[in-house]
């Protein structure tokens, strides 16, 4: 069972971009800086000309943890990762690393986005998870 995000006008681009297979973040249209989590002002040039834009969906594992504790009613273990996106230093997503055995996850590993669709009466959500570049090599799933 996933706890899904509550959708609103500030975050729909992120949580529903996966419908079209795209990982979408806010970006400053003036200087090109990506803003995450979403914010109405660019912290670099203070521009408010900001809009959603798809990124490559590629990144590297900046860190991870194999979670064994039942915080939530989901199958264990699962791998929580911090993925640093290719587009910008320290632009990270907290996510799950899937498509490989937990023991095979390494810091520095190259990963690419894969979306997990959840139908919901409040609006469907596509969670951006990450798997090793080149595709899944094992049977591991995320915290679903």
């Amino acid at each position: 069972m996933r706890i899904l995000p509550e959708l609103n006008d500030k975050n729909r681009h992120f949580w529903q971009g996966g419908q079209e297979g795209r990982l979408v973040l806010l970006r400053c249209r003036r200087c090109g800086y990506y803003l995450h989590p979403p914010s109405p002002i660019c912290p670099r040039d203070r521009s408010t000309d900001i809009g959603p834009e798809a990124v490559s969906g590629l990144g590297t594992v900046a860190s991870f943890t194999v979670n064994h504790h039942p915080w939530l009613p989901v199958p264990l273990p699962y791998v929580i990762g911090l993925v640093e996106l290719a587009e910008q230093p320290a632009l990270r997503l907290t996510t799950d690393i899937v498509g490989c055995e937990p023991d095979d996850v390494r810091i520095g590993m190259e990963v690419s986005v894969v979306f997990e669709h959840h139908a919901d009466p409040d609006g469907d959500v596509w969670l951006p998870l990450f798997e090793p570049v080149g595709g899944a090599v094992g049977g591991s799933s995320g915290a679903g």
């Binding site: 996933r2 706890i3 509550e6 900046a62 943890t65 194999v66 409040d122």
Partner: protein, 402 residues
Amino acid sequence: MARAEDVVERRCAITGIGQSEIGRRLGRDPLELTLEACLAAVDDAGLTLADVDGLSTYPGPMAVPSGAGAYEVIDALRLNVGWYDSGVETSGQLGSVIKACLAVGAGLADHVICFRSVWEGSAQGAGGRASLGPGGSGTGGGIPKATGITEWSLPFGSASPANWVAMFAQAHMHRYGTTEEQLAQVALNARRNAARNPKAIYRDPMTLEDYLGARMITTPLRLFDCDVPCDGATAFVVSRRELAGDLRQPPVAVEAMGSAMHDRPSWDQVADLTRLVGADAATQMWSRTSLTPADVDVAEIYDGFSYLTMLWLEAIGLCPVGESGPFIEGGERIALDGPLPLNTQGGQLSGGRLHGYGFLHEAVVQLRGDGGERQVPGRPQVAAVAAGGGYTCGCMLLTAGG
């Protein structure tokens, strides 16, 4: 270096300390525990409630069980305050004491009660720890939704600060070669010291094998890397220093404090995953005193998770950046009779999650020479105290004598 006249915390002393009964699950009213600690602190200082003219607490009333808020205590004790404050958005748990020092230094109050009251033991006993993950909010009675800061983590099962700190620890291990056996020393040292603290929660001896054999929570953090929830309250009286000399206890002087944060207030967007944002607070603290890390005789440092203590050791400059692992290896250096005694009351890992305030309490005990069986030998003169993790960090430097 800050100008001496600007270092207003040096106009302050900690004149009273108090602690309620502490236990895993006491089943007592949290306000009652809070008042027990506050009255003990006022009495310890040799003051009466009529002398108290300020109050400060962390975090105030919250969804996650906290013992009591400022208004409840002010009303229960009918305090007449010249200044009061409560809140969670501050430089860690010590932020509330730092603010009290600012208020006393600025002349808004002479004697400020500071308290932190926890009630997690009983609350979790009722609901189970797993039910206390940082919450979501319901929308129409179905499965709750993730909102606020949990929006970006909870959907991925990243449900606890344990997960977030685990990822910091993993990054440190990867970059600096820190080992699980080194990490273990924080927990083993705490347990050794807890054996000498009658109020500690876990006092039975623990070996490295016990530690490594305990269940994994979230790699690399095992059960004993996580502090133990409890019920209890801790309180202090922060007083104007020139009033401290006439009171009951030898005053413990506030030498310097640090509250700075030069990075994003975020668990996953900070510039460097292996650096504690508290390093900014520590740098600021050292800029307000002529003392240096070499002067520290005893260190009381937050261990909500063991790895946070290692990060703080580096942040405060008690060991070089990246070298906290080798520094604590074997445990001799941080033992009660070592060159840098650490978490002499058993920390939160074995002493109980008194949430930052337990460290300040213990620093005062040690500087007064009241540690009894766990007293650091040689009458320590300077104590470093740090609390918080992630980006909510604050630190203080205390000295013995007025």
